[in-house]
């Protein structure tokens, strides 16, 4: 029998039990749909995280103070006081591949303009911070080296802060705001950067010269972190090692073990984030895989029922000359048609769900060609795998007994 004839036969016999075929297919539809949608959500969230990590800046390294043991109580990283402005300067001077280095301190404070106020964080940095973070000024300009030297009371507002204090889309350059009762002149507005990987609003911040924040707002000397920009992606690792060496020498210690600071690269942070979203992706995909498995078992079940129901038909076919493999092919093709049809419908369902998730939840969702071919391949494999056993059972029937079957 030609394959086309077998296919036509399979379609006809499936069409005879439309509801049953549909319900059997539904298992695979849901399974494949789930696989596609889950992979799309996983891929989308990974892309999002990657984009957000890229938004950290270009080739960024971050130096954190190491955690410090105080009488057995280990304080959180960043809570100790070992990083200083000098460390940042030395990194910038001694490491040629470190194109920029900026210390950073951050305090949270209420800021006021006339009757409006807003709680935000004020970050004290060097002017080159914007270059490190790859951050643009939307209006006005960055503060200068002389502002830094004179601890000038100037600031740059993030978009969110500007919106909250001056109204949506306002351009308050030249206005004053009060931070802890000190007037600060707004000299620029930062371009919107959106949310970071953890979902917090990066635009909800105020930038001010490092010296201003330290002297006028905090009264301290230690930096909470130092941001460093490497000359190129390939140099990141070597810059990391050099920072460890330079800072270690300053402290009269070498090697990571005794270091009271930690250097993290953008890649490190990316890897950690990726590992999380990957684990989530695997979890989602395996749930989807399980539903596909259940769908496959459904097909096997129905095919076994079908073989039993049609024992006499099989006997008749064998009596008129069907060989074992003809019967095997007939039932196998039926199972494959079921699962492939289910797979295609599942792909449509999965794409539709992905689209809906994007529309309703605003999550970026990405249906890849890979996941489509995976869904298609999987459904075909399910058909072959779960169709094989019932088909073989049919092919091995004894024609005499099959003809006698009531």
């Amino acid at each position: 029998m030609s394959l086309l004839a077998v296919l036509r036969l399979a379609l006809r016999s499936l069409a005879r039990n439309k509801l049953r075929s549909f319900l059997t297919m539904l298992g695979v539809v849901i399974g494949v749909g789930a696989v596609i949608a889950m992979l799309a959500v996983g891929q989308g969230s990974r892309d999002l995280v990657n984009a957000q990590i890229a938004s950290l800046g270009t080739n960024v390294l971050i130096v954190f103070p190491g955690s410090q043991s105080q009488g057995g109580v280990r304080t959180e990283a960043g809570a100790s006081t070992q990083l200083t402005e000098d460390d940042a300067k030395i990194i910038g001077q001694r490491i040629p591949d470190a194109t920029a280095a900026s210390p950073m301190v951050r305090i949270g404070s209420q800021v006021k303009h006339l009757s409006l106020n807003w709680r935000t964080s004020i970050m004290g940095v060097y002017p080159n911070y914007l270059a490190i973070r790859d951050w643009d000024v939307e209006a006005g300009s960055d503060f200068s080296e002389s502002d830094l030297r004179s601890a000038a009371k100037v600031c740059l507002l993030g978009r969110t802060v500007a919106d909250q204090l001056f109204g949506e889309g306002a351009n308050p350059v030249g206005e004053d705001i009060r931070i802890r009762n000190l007037p600060f002149r707004i000299i620029g507005i930062l371009a919107s950067k959106g949310q970071n990987a953890l979902g917090s609003d990066q635009d909800d911040a105020i930038l001010a010269p490092y010296s201003t924040v330290q002297k006028r707002l905090i009264g301290g000397t230690s930096a909470q972190m130092i941001l460093v920009s490497a000359a190129s992606t390939e140099r990141i690792e070597s810059v990391k090692e050099q920072i460890i060496q330079v800072l270690g020498n300053l402290r009269g210690k070498t090697g990571d073990a005794s270091a009271d600071f930690t250097v993290r690269t953008q890649t490190d942070i990316g890897n950690a984030a990726n590992a999380t979203s990957q684990a989530l992706g695997i979890l989602l995909a395996s749930i989807a895989g399980v539903s596909l498995l259940v769908g496959g078992i459904g097909i096997m079940n129905i095919m076994l029922v079908s073989v039993t129901e049609r024992t006499r038909e099989i006997g008749i076919r064998m009596a008129v000359g069907a060989r074992g493999r003809d019967v095997l092919l007939q039932f196998l093709v039926e199972a494959i048609v079921l699962s492939l049809a289910g797979g295609m419908a599942g792909i449509l369902l999965g794409v539709a769900i992905s689209y809906l998730v994007t529309q309703l939840q605003g999550w970026p969702v990405k249906v890849s060609l890979f996941s489509l071919s995976l869904g298609f391949g999987f459904s075909a494999a399910v058909g072959v795998f779960f169709g094989w056993f019932p088909a073989r059972k049919a092919a091995r029937l004894n024609p005499i007994e099959a003809l006698r079957f009531e």
Binding site: R16, V320, G321
Partner: protein, 249 residues
């Protein structure tokens, strides 16, 4: 062409299930020539069904030699047996065994789908011709449940002859039919026989056995009687007589 169509030499068939040994056929010698119209009689358990299965290449003998058209057939693989059934045998069953929800035409086309590859048009043409031969040229698109028992059996006969087999094997073809329809069906077989077809059929009824040219009687796995019938009954004549008596009544 001088080979006997079927030649059985010392055929035995033993069923051995769960220590229960049953000798269904014991040392059977039998030759069937082309153009014979053979009736097999016997009570149940006499071995006639076993013989039909072996003749029909549905089963293989436990011992002895079985030759179809001069070719050894007792050692064939299941696939080779399927090929023999397809090309050389046509089956007619007591319960018709048509595929349900499949038209008469498609039922008749079935054996040709499993045989040597033929164009669809040729298959359709042959099936149509076979149905015309059995007098169902007008019922090509009917489903089995739209046909009477006699008509269903005619479809089954058309299916059996569509591949132009060497031999038609009919297992109690009239067992489920009333007298009138039985006569009609035997008339179809006689017409096929008249055209040179070899037919072997099983029956319980002496009336039906009388239409053959040779009657084999089996008992306990042995052939106990093999008689030629010089003057077979004629189904067409009997059908006419039946019609007359019905009109008289």
């Amino acid at each position: 062409m001088d080979n006997p169509l079927i030649e059985l030499k010392g055929i035995g068939k033993v069923y051995d299930s769960e220590g229960n040994r049953v000798e269904a056929l014991r040392h059977l010698d039998l030759t069937i020539r082309r153009g014979e119209f053979v009736c097999i009689m016997g009570t149940s358990g006499s071995g006639k069904s076993t013989l039909m299965n072996i003749l029909g290449c549905l089963d293989t003998p436990s011992s002895g030699r079985f030759m179809v058209d001069g070719k050894e057939a007792q050692t064939l693989t299941p696939d080779e047996l399927a090929g023999l059934r397809n090309r050389f045998m046509g089956f007619v069953f007591q319960s018709f065994n048509l595929l349900p929800r499949t038209t008469a035409l498609e039922n008749v086309e079935l054996p040709m789908l499993y045989g040597p590859r033929l164009p669809a048009a040729t298959i359709r043409e042959r099936a149509t011709r076979a149905l015309q031969t059995v007098g169902l040229g007008e019922r090509l698109k009917h489903f089995p449940n739209q046909l009477s028992g006699g008509q269903q059996q005619r479809v089954a006969i058309a299916r059996a002859i569509a591949t132009e087999p060497l031999l038609i094997l009919a297992d109690e073809p009239t067992g489920n039919l009333d007298t009138r329809t039985s006569l009609e069906i035997m008339g179809v077989f006689q017409a096929l026989h008249a055209r040179g077809m070899t037919v072997i059929y099983v029956t319980h009824e002496p009336d039906i056995a009388a239409f053959g040219t040779r009657v084999l009687t089996f008992r306990d796995g042995r052939l106990v009687k093999d008689e030629a019938i010089a003057q077979s009954a004629d189904a067409a004549t009997q059908l006419a007589m039946l019609a007359e008596s019905e009109r008289a009544a």
